[in-house]
């Protein structure tokens, strides 16, 4: 009667209630034009049970819909999902038939520099740029972007996490040695700043590029230099060995971030265990080994000069604190 596999690929759930389903809406970067809420409300009230579930990936799930009504529902929401994906320059050819794939999950992002003072980038915008590169791939992949190392979006629990950072540039002629940057870095970050001969010294080995010294400076002696990203990989929940993502590339440019996100699909394609219904990237990396992963995912990418591909089992997110 119904093709469950096709329904799932079409981004609808198979409910525990026989004959029922739930709609899963992609909201790249968790950033939605408020006008779509009308359509979402109508979907829930007309076809569902009147409720909307906010998923952890920042998508909307509309439960209690009838499998028998799927064609009608897809027609009803076609224009909306077309419009939302178009914001990321993804053009759905047949939006009235629903989403073409569901394996690559919604890309989540913190609110970024649209609101947050700590943010080093426009995270929802970067989410859309990544959406453009990777959707509608169907391999199972979870990506999240956090605009600073506080990682409010939990990028460390994703297959691929993007942690935005900034290189602080220091102009000693504007510094009044108030030590606000030093105190903050010692108490809240990695203690990578100190005062020497009335000037601030920054230890690049320890600096996380969180940019908080820039925020703390009352003089503008610290300003924003280059925007660079930490790409972390292999974070996962799940039953077998849940764990945090490990640093994979440090100080990548935005171009490198996008290229890595694109390349990861050929890595999955080559190495996935096709006997399983689906396989998480973390398990694939475990099987191929980190070296193969790193080699295949960076293949053909021209790295920006600052970028460093790290070895496996590096200190990862367990950053070092300068113990002085």
């Amino acid at each position: 009667m119904y093709n469950a596999k096709k329904i799932v690929k079409n981004a609808f759930r198979i409910s525990k209630v026989r004959g029922e389903s739930a709609i899963r809406l992609r909201i790249p970067g968790g950033d939605l034009d408020a006008r779509h809420l009308d359509t979402i409300k109508n979907l829930a009230e007309k076809f569902g049970n009147g409720s909307v579930h906010l998923s952890i990936r920042q998508g909307f799930e509309i439960p209690g819909i009838k499998l028998s009504q799927l064609p009608e529902i897809k027609k009803f929401m076609g224009q909306m999902i077309y419009d939302i994906e178009k914001e990321s320059n993804v053009i759905l050819d047949t939006p009235e038939e629903g989403y073409p794939s569901a394996g690559t999950r919604n890309i989540s992002a913190c609110i970024g520099d649209r609101v947050c003072r700590f943010a080093n980038c426009d995270a929802p915008l970067l989410a859309r740029k990544i959406e453009e590169v990777i959707y509608p791939n169907d391999y199972h992949l979870k990506v999240a972007i956090t605009a600073c190392p506080n990682d409010c979006i939990k990028a460390h629990m994703q297959d691929i996490g993007i942690v935005s950072g900034v290189v602080p540039e220091y102009d000693s002629s504007r510094c009044i040695s108030c030590e606000a940057c030093i105190d903050n870095c010692r108490l809240r970050v990695s203690n990578s700043l100190w005062l020497e001969n009335h000037k601030i010294v920054r230890d690049e080995e320890y600096c996380l590029k969180c940019g908080e010294c820039i925020l703390k400076c009352p003089m503008g002696a610290f300003t924003r230099g280059k925007s660079l990203y930490r790409i972390i990989a292999g974070g996962r929940t799940g039953k077998r060995n849940p764990r945090l993502a490990n640093t994979f590339i440090e100080d990548a440019s935005e171009e490198v971030v996008l290229a890595v996100c694109k390349n990861i699909y050929s890595f999955i394609h080559r190495n996935i265990n096709t006997k399983l219904p689906k396989e998480h990237v973390g398990y694939i990396i475990d099987r191929t080994g980190f070296e193969t992963f790193a080699e295949e995912v960076t293949r053909g990418i021209v790295m920006n000069p600052e970028a460093k591909v790290l070895k496996p089992n590096n200190p990862g997110y367990f950053y070092k604190y300068r113990d002085k």
Binding site: C121, S177, A180, G211, G220
Partner: protein
Amino acid sequence: MKMLEITQGQADSVFESLSQKYRIIAPVEKPGEGRFSNTSLLTYDQAKSFKEIDFFKKTYFSPKEVLFPVRESLFEFKKSDIHELQEEIQPSIVFLRACDINAVGITDAHFLNNEKFKDVYYGRRRNLVKLFLIECKESFESCFCVSMGTNKSEDYSGFMRKVDNGYEIKVKDEELIPYFSQGKQKDVEPVFVEKDTSPLIIPKEIDVSLFKDDIWKEYSKRCSACGRCNTSCPTCTCFTIGDVLSEDSSDSGQRRRIWSSCQVKNFGLLAGNHDFRIPKGDRMRYKVLHKIRDFRKRTGFNMCVGCGRCDDVCPDYISMFKCIEKINQITDKKETNE
């Protein structure tokens, strides 16, 4: 005196000829230099054209660093030898509003008329600075210059107003008149703001009993002691002295005076680790009463010009304006009781 209207093209050539001699310091927008991601900083800096000058917005920092650099070298030393630095200082023209011109009057009082003591370092820069007035169409949200009596000034070399296709200019300084040979004659007079967004009464007498009042306690909780109110203020001139050593030597270097801030840690730190004014409320009291009481006792005028920058920049939304209002309420109550 000369009053005229010039086109953008004429202004460009005026700028070029002025730049031969003067640095033109004015409000300019610096993209990407804001504290937060993807923001710009509107501040004082050397302008590359009149076009670059923002005539309509208030700057984050004040123009005071033209006269009082953040780190000023006073002399060089090598062991016990010292010699004064003969720094070549280029003359400047600074574009600023009436409040900031009045603020220059206050920094003059600090450095040049301080009980017969004249600060040579400030003095040598002051002599080489000409002030160009820019006007405010209306009071910015946080301003209270009318209440402070600093909304007007006649102490300027010239005045410049941005109009649709050029500039309206009034030049008073004889030295500058020759630069303005082109253009159409036109009567030009600056218009000054006559009304604050919210007027404020400045208390006339502030009794020392206010020092112990509870109003300061609130600031101990709210203030994070970042010092932005001081660094953005056009009249704060506290500094500290530091010996900055040469890179390659531990017995030679420069003695510099470096801006300080009465709100940040260690400002009140003395030998033996004694620190008075540890509570941030005490620091706030020290600052506010210096601005509207102590300085006035010495000079006869207030040290605050009501530019509102301290309110604009405070990350904790602490307001000088509100604080003065609170002081008013206390002094009013006292007066009615007596």
